[in-house]
């Protein structure tokens, strides 16, 4: 049986992708090189890694009101993550996901997704029903 994780109802379409996980936070303005599609802030735990088409799994969103526009701009250029999973989203990233039609969920019943999901896991996200399924591991 794949591992099913319940979360709060989220935003955006249902998608499946490969997880990139870190016990760290997220800001499009502070953390990313949006042209290259990589994490560019040296102190970030995913520094140097590409987020393109990944299901990002992080703790929370930080700072930067600009993130709402930036998610839209990244999606328009096809240079965005496939989905973002947070332990708890902040307002800006949720607003940005709603605007950009990017998949986003948070508030998992079993704890932080950064401990429940591992980098490399194949995960299916269904925001409308608040369900994330880890496809490559059994419960």
């Amino acid at each position: 049986m794949p591992i099913a994780l319940k979360c709060h109802k989220g935003l955006g379409p249902a998608v499946t992708g490969t997880a990139l996980v870190a016990d760290d936070n997220f800001s499009t303005r502070y953390d990313l090189d949006r042209i290259e599609g990589t994490f560019s802030r040296p102190a970030h735990k995913l520094y140097g890694q590409s987020y393109l088409d990944k299901v990002l799994v992080l703790v929370t969103a930080k700072g930067g009101v600009a993130s709402a526009w930036m998610l839209h701009e990244m999606v328009a250029r096809g240079m965005a993550p496939k989905a973002i999973l947070f332990d708890r989203a902040n307002t800006i990233l949720a607003q940005g996901a709603a605007f950009a039609q990017l998949t986003m969920v948070d508030r998992f019943e079993a704890g932080s997704p950064t401990t429940l999901i591992r980098t490399g896991d194949e995960v299916a996200i269904d925001p409308a029903s608040g369900l994330v399924t880890i496809l490559n591991r059994d419960a």
Partner: protein, 416 residues
Amino acid sequence: MRLTDEEKAMLAGGQGPVRQWAIRHQVAVGEFFDAPDLVPVGQAHIMADTESLGEAGVAWLEGLACSPEKERRVAIPTITDPRGLDFASYKRLRQTDAMADIEARAIRAFEALGVLMTNTCINYQTILPPVRGEHLAMGDTGVVIYSNSVMGARSNFEGGPSALAAGLTGRTPRYGYHLDQHRAGTMLFEVAHRPTDFADWGALGGIVGRVANSYWQVPVVTGLEDRPPNSDELKHFGAALASFGSVALFHMPGLTPEAPALSDAFAGRAAPAAVPIGKADFDAFYRGYAATGDKVDVVVFAAPQLSLIEMAEVADLIAGRRVHEATSLVVATSPEIKFAADRMGLTARIEDAGGIVAAGVCFYQSYAREMAEANGWQRLLTNSAKLVNILAGYGYKPTLASMARCIDSAVAGKVL
């Protein structure tokens, strides 16, 4: 979500597709945060610099601006955060004509929507200060934290699309800091070292922010009651706290309006154990950005934009001196303060010494990475803790120092 008949009609498209987009967006966000309904707001403040808008965002705004006038005009006073470029100074900062073109397009679109181009992140000092209990849709984290904490108003961080949506509907989803239940303190900090300048106030915000580290934490800060900080000091403290910690509300018992006493800050609940903050914490914070002796490429006063009082301080410190030929000095303020600074001779004193005074921008929102590459800037000196936090991700090596040390270093051409 519970909607009024008027809101239901708006959602059904009865007031046109622009307002329909706006309320649809608000319902999606409201449901994500379990908002019971929409709350009327008094002002909206839009962060929408062209660097973050990109071509996609500007084209989207231009689409809205093509709608019939009655359908596209904002319903409440709607103002803007700093822009990506100041037409009067962009060439001196080596920004490009392409940046100026996209900026002009964005401005035309916003003006067609009835948005007032205030281009400021210090609107609480210069435009229409928020009032206690007033619900708002403020963009810019520094504006939100100041409005919530110092004025006792009620706003979440509203990203550009959401703030524009609020301007168009006159409402915002009622969640987060619109609700009493989120406004009580969650952490206690006892400060034993008095900040002495704006860099120190920002450092204190950074220290508290690193510990709080969540939008949903409400720090309560004590130990500063002996001399109430002024508006500029709280501006730097709040901007750094919001930047380092994503925090939207703090209380200072005896100083801020929702916390006459410590027990009020925690809504009558017992205060948690205090996190002590002493001189060693400030020293460690500064050490993280230290660079004594390095050549300094650019000295920046911004983030938040300078008040008239800060402009006068910069002018007093630099007057009669000369910025080193291998160093740039950039000062960012709001258009209103720039007019005042021009009239009072402050701009001339700063620019005669070799500085650049830019209006309606705030440095980090104006293509900071491209400016660094075009000007060969790397080592940056500033008295803004918010700026040192942001710019490390933009390829700069930022150092935090007092305004006086920043200016002495600008004249010497190296970090003193």
